[in-house]
Structures are given as C-alpha cells and as structure tokens.
Symmetry: C2
Subunit: 701 residues, 2 copies
C-alpha cells in the first residue's frame, strides 16, 4: 500500500515550498486513507450500527475527523468561520470513553452518508487550499500556524486506527476488504517464547519542543528513571501461548486477576480474547473485515486486564516474577534493538504503517535483532498509567487531548500496530487507553525483581489547594510578589548565618517558602495541618514536579506544571522535612529551632492564644519568631472567645496585635514595629483576593 | 452650690498653663460632685439595690465613671496600663438600655463600696496627675491628647444626671439629701398655658469641628431645615395641666396613644407619671431623695409616649394641631429668645447646672422673654429621633457613643434639667432616649400645620450593600481608582456633547456613576434590580447624606458618612431618575437613549443573551452601548445553558466576549478592541477583592 505510506513530516528541516508540498501530500494521503477505510462498509446501514454499544456509530467518526479540522482552524483564527455549524457541533463530541455518560443516541439525528461525504470533500478542499495559501516559515513549532494543520492530520491518523477497531466489531457481512486486502494468510509454526536479558541503567524519556517531528503535548518534557537489569520476552504473547492460560481455566480463576480485572471479567462474562470467535469447540479469528481460521502464531489481542492476569498465572507456573514492561523498560528494549525513528525508515522494520499487511501477522515474522515485534504488529500494553513528563504543558488549541487521561486509570500502549500511521508510528508516540479497552493491542512480558513505580501525577484539582499552588508557584499578578518569596526576604533580612540554623515553618501550605529557605538554612522543617496542602509539596520534592488546575473564565481551566528545577532551586544542603502535623498539638521533637515562621496560622487555630503561650518552648534563646496574620477570624474555626482581637472588650476595641504583644512580651522582645505585608490569591483569571497581613518579628529572651 | 458650678471650658482660647489649671479644676469639681451624689445613699445596701429592674445597681455607676477614664486613656495611649483590670472590665459595660439583654446580675459579684471608693480615689489622682503632666497645646481638638480627658469629664457629667434619676427610684428611707438640699419648696399659683407665635424660616443646625466647646460626635455637622410659622406653648406642661388628661381618662383611652405608647402603657399598667406617688385619692411628688406634697406648678415629668398622648388628647379637645416640637423648632425657640451659651452666663438663665435648685421648680419661675424654661428645669422631649447631622463622624476613641441610637427609636430631649452640667448645659447638647424612658424630662407643645419630617438616617449595615457603598463613595485602595469614576472616564471619552444626551445606567448599584454622569448629561436614568442597592442612592439624592458601616478587623466596624456636597457634585442639570427595575423586563418607556451602560449586569441575569438581543431597541441610531462584565457566571443565577462563555462547546473553549460580539454585531459596530478594567471591592480592612472586567463599546448601526 505504497500510496498510503504515511510518514509524519520533518517540521524543522527543509525548504518552505517543498515542505508545503510535502504537508499537502501528507494531508491528502491521510485523508484518502481515511476515506478508503470507510469504503470497507459495504452497505450504508453499517454506518449507523453500533459496533460497540458505548460508542457512536461510524457515521460519527466519518464526520468527526473533518469537523475537527474546521473547529481547530476556527479556534486558531485560520478559518474565518464554520463551514457547517450543525455538523461541527454534532461531530465534535463523543469520541471516546470520556464522553460515555453523554452518549444518548436519542439526541442525534444523523445525516446521510452522502451528506457527510460531501461535507468531507468540502473540508478536504478547504484545508488543502489553506495549506497552499498560508505563509509557511520553518520550523513549524507549537506557535506556527501550520501546527493546527498537522494536528488535524495526526488526529485523522489516530481515528483511522480507532475506527478500524470499531469496524472490526461490525458484522462481517456488512463489510468488504476494499484496499485492506493484504491480510497475512498463513499461520506460522508456533515459536517457543523465551526471556532474554536487557541491561538496566538510567534512561531519559520525553522529547524537547525543538524536536523535528510533530508530537502531542504529552510527548514533551523530561523524565528520568533508573531500571534494574531485567529480562524481556523475545516474542509478543501469541494466541497459542495465551491459550495455555485459557486451558488452565484462567478466565475462571480469580487469583490471577486484579480486582479491577475480575470485576471486568464478570461484567463482560469474558471467556477468551474479544476477537476470538468460538464455534462449537474451536476458535476462529476476527480480523478487521473478515473471520479467518484461528492463527495461533498471531499475537494475542487482549486488554491490559487480561494481559495482567496472564502474567500472574504465568509467574505462578514458572516461579518467575513476570509482568508487563513499564514504559521505560519498553524504551530500554527499543534502545537495545537500536531502532530508528519512522522518518529514517526505508521500509518499516515491523508490521506497521500499513507498509506490510492489513492485519497482524505471526509473532516471529519481524525481528529486531534478538527480539521480535518491538514495534508494529500490535500495540503492547505496559504497566505505566499515562501522565505527562516533567515539564508537560497543554497545547492551547487542544487542552484536553491528554489531561483527562492523567487519572491513573489509563495505561500506556507502545510500539504501534499494523495500521498505526503518522505520529502513531514514531518512537515517541504515547497513547493510552482504559485498562479494559480493546485496541489492536497485545503484550509481551518481562521478568524483573523491580516493582514498577506507578506515578499518577494527576492534576491538583482541589480548588483551595490549587489556589495555594498558584500562590506558591504561579505567576505574579497585579504587580504583587508571591507571598512565600516576600516571606523569604524577611527571613534573609532577620536571620544571619542561616547555614548554621534550623528553621521551622509552622504553616507551610504547599511549601514554597520551605523550598526557598532550604537554599540557605541548615535544616528546614515544614509543617502543615492539612495533608491536602502538604501533599503537593511532598510530591514536588520527590518528583520535582507539581501539577494543578486553576480557573480561567467560567468553568474553563488552565493547566499548570511546576518543575522544581525551573524555580532555580539548587540542591539544598538538606532536603526539607515536610510533616503533616497540628500546630496545636506539636510533638516534643519540634524544639530548639533558631527560627520559626507562623504565617496566617493563628486564624486557622481553634485557640491561637495557646500557640502564642507555648511557642517560646520551641525556640532557642535569641531565636527569631516571625508571626503574620490577617486576623480574619472565623467563628467556625476560632470561637469568638478565643479571638485575639477584632472585638470590643469592656466597650473598647481590641486589636489582635495588642493581644499578641501582650502575650509574647513575656518571653520575646519585639525586633521592629509590626508592619503590613500585602499578598495576593488568584481565584480565577478575572478575580483576585488581596490580603494585608500584619507581620511582627520577635527575638527570644 | 457655687462650688459645683460646672461649666465646660473653652478649648480654643486661653493660655496653656491657665487652661491646664482650668481643666484640672473642671475635672476635680465634676469628680467631687459625682462623689457627693453618691453620698445621698444613706446606707451601703442602697448601692446594691436595683432602682430599675433593668438597670445595674448604683455600685456599678459608682465605679463606671472612673473606669471609663482609665479605659479611654489606655486606648488613647495616655496611660501605660490598666489600674485595676478586674474593675475596668466589670464597670465597663451595661450602662444603658442598649445592654439590657446582657444584664444578668448573676454574672456580677460586686465589690464593696470601700473598694470602689478607693479605686475612684486612685483614678482621680492618676487623672489629675496626667492633667498636670501632659503637654498642652491649644486648641484642644479631636486629635489633641486632652480630648479624651475632657471626654471623661463630660462622661461623668452625663452620669451625674442619669444616676440622679436612678437614685430618684430608690426607697427614700435609704437616702439623705446631702448637699442636694436646695429643693424648691413652694408650689406657685398655676399659670394658664398659652400658645405664642414663632416666625418660621430656614435654620441651620450642627456645629463645626472648630467650635470652642467640647462636643460629642453627633453635635457636629450641618443640617438645614425650613420651618413654617408655628406657635409654641409659653410654659412647659405642668403637673396641673397634665392632670386634666388623667382626669379625662387619658390613660385609659387608646385613641390618644400611639401604638407604641398604648403597648407600653398596658405593659407598665401606667395610670399617671412615674414620679407621682398616689396615696388614696391624692398624689404626692417624688423628688430625688424625698417625697413631697404634689407640686402642681412643677413641670409634668413623663416619657415621650405620655407626652405624645397628651398632645393628641389636647389637639382633639382644642381642635388645634398640637404636637411636640422638632429639634429644629426648639432651636427656633432658642433663637427667638436669644439665649446665650453656658460659657457666657454669669448666672444660669434657667433652673440648670445646679446653680439654682436641686429639684425642678414651677414652670413659671424662669422666663426667657415671653417663654419660660426654654432651657433648664426639666429636659423637653421632641418629635425628632436622633441621628447624626450631615458630615457626622464618630470619634475614634468612642465610636459607639451615638451610632447605636441612630435607629429611629431614640428621640432627642433638649434644654437640660436642674442637674444638667458641663456639656449637657450647652446649647448644642444632643441627648436622646428611648421613647418609653424616664429622665428628668417633661415637654412643651407646639401648634403647627407642618408634619415633622422624621429622618432616620440609620447606617447601611447590610454587608453587600455597604460594600457597594464603599466601592462607590469610599476611599481608593491599593492605588486602584473607584469603579464608577473609571466608568465615568469611559463615558467622557466616548460620548460627545453629553449635555444634549440621555444616559441609561442599567445596573446602577448604589449610584455613584449616575451622580457623576448627571454632571454632564441632559438626563440620567439609573436602574437597579435591587431595592437594597438603589435605596442608599435615593437617600443620598434626597438628603445629600449616606451612612454605612464597613468591616474593620474581626467584628469591629468603621462608620462611614458620605455627603453629596463633598463629592464635588454640583447641582446637575436634571436630577438622576433612580428606578428599581428588572433589566430583563424593562418597561416600554426605557427607550431612545443616546447611551446605555451595562456594567457587571450580564452575570446577574438569568438569561444574558436575551438582554443582548433586545438592547438595540432601547438606543438611538449612533447611540453608544458600554458593556462590561467579569464573566463570573454563577449557576445559581445564570443556568449554565445561558452562560455566554466560560465553557466548552463542541469540545472547544468559548469565551464570553465571542458570544457578545456574535450577538451584538448585527445591530452594533464595535468602537474599539475590548479592554480590561480593573477595580476593587473592599471586604474588610485587610481583605480586598480585585476584579478584572472586560469592557466593550458599541455604536448602534
């Protein structure tokens, strides 16, 4: 299928006019392939059948890829207006599982295939014309107007594959092969799988924004991982190998399954892989458009849950620690095999990009050195839930491509399948599906003593915590410096020789002050009463990465990524000791500090007087106590009888600072006149809270 | 009682050293008089008896006046610390009706009279020493450190009088005359009262902050009133004249009483004035320390409710419109009689300042020209509920002296009584009590066709409305100009020749923009959906005065007074037409405007699209529509399906401005690129909300 050899273009090198032509070709070839795919639907009513009861019928996908071009190009300001607003609404939403709740077929009155075909042609012409007319300057990076065009093409490539999976679920009598007639017909002798060693070591994942191939947002960034030596299965697990599991009653033995897996198995009443067709006592194999005799040498196509159950069963049988590879282990395998990226292939080294077959093929057909099918044939499930690498940013034109899947419930698949084209066929491709989901996906197992580290790195969406994250790590607004940086300046001013001193931050929130202070102090202990607030600080210290979501206009959101590295925080003398603890019930060990900061803590306490009465016990002679509060007493937190001020006593107004001075003066000397500190809280892109806290600085007598 | 001739000193003129001595004398004489007053308590247990079941026993007041000195001087920073913190808490609160709810005798464990006497002496010495030591510079104004000292002295003068009323309610066998033995013994022939004419005209009330005599906060400011010609009773109503009412069954005839009065009468089962003592079929009269045969020529001492019932009865009997005077009418009478202020008396012109008697005296004893007892003898109830004059400010050291009584329930008494000393005996004195309350107070009636205008001018305490008042009329904070002034600049920039044009402010809030625009426009119509918000604007337009309370620290409050005059708003061409109306259901008559402003309105509407669709019908060709919003959509107000933006549609983010442009473009041309406008809301002295609204300016096609 030479005409559909769809390789994603180099966006950095080349000559503009040739590049324009290359992109136009790429666009047209992808569009044509997509068109041809739907020609496998022999009858029109196949467009309206539900291949999967929880997915739209194919007529939706037939319109969707064109509608996507229009919507993104309008959003990018490259098209002046919509082409068919009705279609561009109808075909916009409901692509995947994320929208299952919304999927109510009653709401749709699908147009005819002819209408959609005509719409597709209009869009194809419009986009082609745009590619011809739009000024082109290399490199094509995120900001380049060609980026949304490539985005539309790659989006179409994705749907070519996912629609092929849906077609595979339609009745074969509604289908024809069309151009997809190069299925692999033989069934090889079945090879015995074996585990071959791979050397461990550090590996670096993620690409830079200067990379010359198109990438989806989640491919960028940098993630380092150290892998122990491990062994990898030479072949993908074949249908034959998987059948051992079935024969051993694997689908009926709860112990092999994860809880999620067992629950899915029972719900689906699964007895074998979905594309196996059981006929009396034998199996056939469903390919995209046809059912063929079982190919025992083809890779078993299963979901993650089945693959995991197989590994558990096989571990027990072999007394080995078998599991799926992590994403990093898969890249170790790729590096081991010295695989080149798609743009450098003459011919695809595996069954990928439609360059060889229009189906999967035996697991011992394509070798990459010692291993087979490292890329291509079918996708390979991994143990790794998808998340952005450190430095992840969403692309503004498609801010929900990845982020909804950063939930720990979507596992990465790697390597591509026979129908993976464009970006899907590149080494950096990162796609993920829910663990129960079916794609043209199988698996290979690894043997390793190393427990895969499962990082979820989901976005902090707890509004209060996210607001604190932005206050600690976000931008400055209205010309007001971030609160923790202001506090750090106070520390610098009042505490000499910090490198010999211990600091206690009694209300560290999401931790910025502690990180900053750790640059200078011998040791920083940072306490917060709430796990919700301290968790992001701990994650940031551990992973160097913090993610949160803040409010834009209305319900729109802005995704924020913070890298500890980017904050210019060098490796501190000692890492911050973050602790969740109640400042009202401080443990004995919190003592002998040279400096204590308690900012906006008093108003969070049930009895602030108690803290002020006791704080001198925690601090050394001549130690500095920095106290700040906005005195926003809230009866629900601090009963009025415990307020420090802000009320009338004996008819006269009592200011909180007076009570503070009264209590602290017995053990401390006031270093300078209390002063106001102004800081800001961002509530949304149009709403900010400016607070004025009063700061007093005390020296222990 | 020459030694207690207590005249409040001139605080502006004089020589410092002499002034210091004058103040010291004034302090000591007042203190001594207060001490002597309590010597009328013959036995110690009289200190602990409840003269009034809803008031503290006299032991409280015995301590209170000294405690007040200490508390205010500590607050002012003139005393370094409290003298007896326990006393200064115990004797601080519970002076008057405002605190009746708190008055639970169980909470008090009163000290002995000796202890309090000792405390008083200590305080007297301390304050005397302070008067001797404190640097003194004339004039003594609000900011002068001597002000709180004078405040304490005047406070003591007040309590000399109010305690004398409480003593008058104790059993006479517990009392002795002490120095208060100069009671008026005779009973004059009873004069026939008559009504004498007074010329009406404009009168100006209130004194300036440069005035040379001490004043309580509510004496300052300026209030103008125009009074019709009226007639005033020559004498206060005597016991004899009042007895006619009683004999005519006045206490049992509901029609003479106000609803409040009848309710009080029934509750108290009142049959005659409180200090009349009924013995079989005759009456005696209770004076401060003794009961004497009824003095029919003495003024009837009653509360406002009884005085009002008498006037109603007498009006019916005489077919005249009789009522109590207003405060302004009382001053007309004072002016008519050319009465000099206390500091200019050689001898008091009436029975006041203890210069003549230690009791009231016949109503025909002291003449002021044609009239008797214009000042002195007993206080005179008026029709006027107390309120601050325009320009009223609270003194920071005593912010609740007046404001709790600005509730429409406290009526002014004027003229002073035989025991009114210091500030009480000055012409500007303004004291008020609840209408059912007893003091040494009587009344005179006036005849007038004019309905007294009852201004309450209570403080806006509704938090949201008060915040809007501050946003419209308050200070600038954080260097951000007030929102309505920013909007007025936009009007000036975009609307030429406003003096020929009509403006509609569709969301006028508390009205500042409308007042500002009325300076330039031919006519301004200002609409708000909420009566709560528009009411202060209407009051401000009507009375030139607006009062509201904003939050300081905790529950502390700041009282704010706004004078239309002080905003440099000249008399506009036409006054603003303020209307409460729903922008969603605008009446037909709102049309043909040359300019319409709708700021922060969209987010308050159930269906903002509807307003945008219809607004062109209200505006002339080439008219300007100024739209601003922060797009803070709230599902509780605007259902999400009606939001203009801030959501994803067909997977793509929709910004509100896009929808606005889409809707308005059919009838309007966008004048310039939409821009951001930053403004501020003060929530408390330490908490501000900064909002960024987007403004777009449209010209009607």
């Amino acid at each position: 299928m030479e005409e559909f050899n769809i390789k994603t273009p180099n966006l950095v090198e080349g000559i503009s006019d040739l590049k324009r032509q290359e992109i136009l070709d790429y666009f047209n070839r992808t569009f044509e392939l997509d068109t041809k795919l739907y020609e496998t639907l022999q009858v029109e009513d196949a467009f309206y059948m539900r291949a999967d009861p929880l997915r739209h019928p194919l007529i939706f996908y037939y319109g969707h890829t064109s509608c996507f071009f229009v919507n993104k190009l309008v959003l990018a300001g490259l098209l002046p207006s919509h082409i068919n607003p009705e279609f561009e609404s109808m075909f916009a939403i409901g692509v995947d599982e994320m929208s299952w709740d919304d999927l109510n077929e009653k709401n749709y009155n699908w147009p005819s295939v002819d209408e959609v075909r005509f719409y597709r042609k209009t869009v194809q012409k419009t986009v082609a014309q745009l590619i011809k007319d739009l000024p082109l300057q290399l490199p094509i990076n995120w900001e380049n107007p060609f980026w949304p065009i490539i985005m539309g093409i790659e989006h179409q490539n994705i749907h070519i594959e996912t629609s092929s999976v849906l077609i595979r679920q339609l009745p074969v009598d509604k289908l024809q092969n069309g151009i997809f007639n190069e299925v692999y017909k033989e069934d090889n002798e079945i090879p015995t799988n074996e585990l071959l060693p791979i050397k461990g070591g550090e590996i670096s994942l993620g690409k830079s924004h200067q990379h010359y191939l198109y990438g989806w947002d989640l491919e960028y960034g940098n993630h380092k991982e150290t892998i122990e030596d491990f062994k990898v299965a030479k072949y993908l697990v074949s249908n034959a190998e998987f059948y051992e599991f079935i024969k051993d009653n694997g689908y009926h033995t709860e112990q092999w399954w994860t809880e999620e897996g067992w629950s899915w198995k029972n719900y689906k009443q699964a007895e074998h892989p979905q594309f196996w067709v059981k006929e009396s006592n034998s199996y056939k194999l469903r390919l995209m458009t046809q059912v063929v005799p079982m190919k025992w040498s083809f890779p078993a196509e299963i979901n993650y849950l089945e693959a995991k159950a197989f590994c558990n069963w096989k571990s027990a049988k072999t007394s080995k620690k078998l599991r799926l590879p992590t994403e990093a282990e898969w890249y170790k395998l790729v590096n081991h095999c010295k695989i080149k990226d798609a743009d450098q292939w003459n011919v695809a080294p595996g069954n990928i990009n439609l360059e060889h077959y229009t189906s999967s093929c035996p697991v011992n057909k394509f070798s990459f050195g010692d291993f087979f099918d490292v890329m291509g044939n079918v996708w390979q499930w991994t143990e790794t839930p998808i998340t952005g690498y450190a430095g992840f940013k969403v692309h503004p034109l498609y801010d929900d491509f990845s982020t909804p899947t950063f939930d720990g419930k979507h596992n990465l698949i790697k390597g591509g399948s026979w129908i993976s084209t464009g970006n899907e066929a590149t080494l950096h491709a990162r796609y993920a599906f829910r663990r129960h989901f079916y794609q043209h996906a199988g698996f290979r197992y690894v043997e390793s003593e190393q427990e895969p580290e499962i990082r979820v790195d989901s976005y902090v969406t707890d509004e209060e915590v996210a607001i604190s994250c932005e206050q600690n790590y976000g931008a400055n607004y209205l010309g007001i410096e971030k609160l923790p940086l202001q506090l750090n300046e106070i520390l610098k001013k009042h505490i000499a020789n910090p490198s010999t001193k211990n600091l206690l931050d009694l209300n560290c929130n999401t931790g910025r002050l502690a990180f900053e202070a750790a640059q200078n102090f011998k040791q920083v202990t940072a306490i917060d009463a709430s796990a919700r607030f301290i968790q992001p600080a701990i994650e940031l210290q551990k992973n160097g990465l913090l993610r949160y979501v803040v409010k834009d206009e209305g319900d729109l959101q802005v995704f924020k990524d913070v890298l500890l590295n980017n904050l210019r925080l060098e490796k501190p003398i000692n890492p911050v000791l973050f602790m969740q603890d109640d400042a009202m019930k401080l443990k004995e060990r919190y003592k002998d500090f040279d400096a204590i900061v308690a900012f906006n803590l008093l108003e969070e306490l049930q009895n602030p007087q108690l803290l002020l009465n006791e704080i001198h016990k925690r601090i050394r002679k001549d130690g500095i106590f920095i106290l700040g509060s906005s005195y926003q007493w809230n009866k629900a937190i601090t009963p009025k009888e415990n307020w420090l001020g802000g009320f009338k006593k004996d008819g006269e107004p009592v200011k909180s600072i007076e009570t503070i001075q009264h209590i602290l003066s017995s053990q401390f000397t006031l270093v300078e006149k209390p002063f106001d500190l102004k800081y800001l809280t961002r509530k949304s892109s149009r709403d900010f809270d400016v607070i004025i806290s009063e700061v007093s600085i005390w020296k222990k007598k």
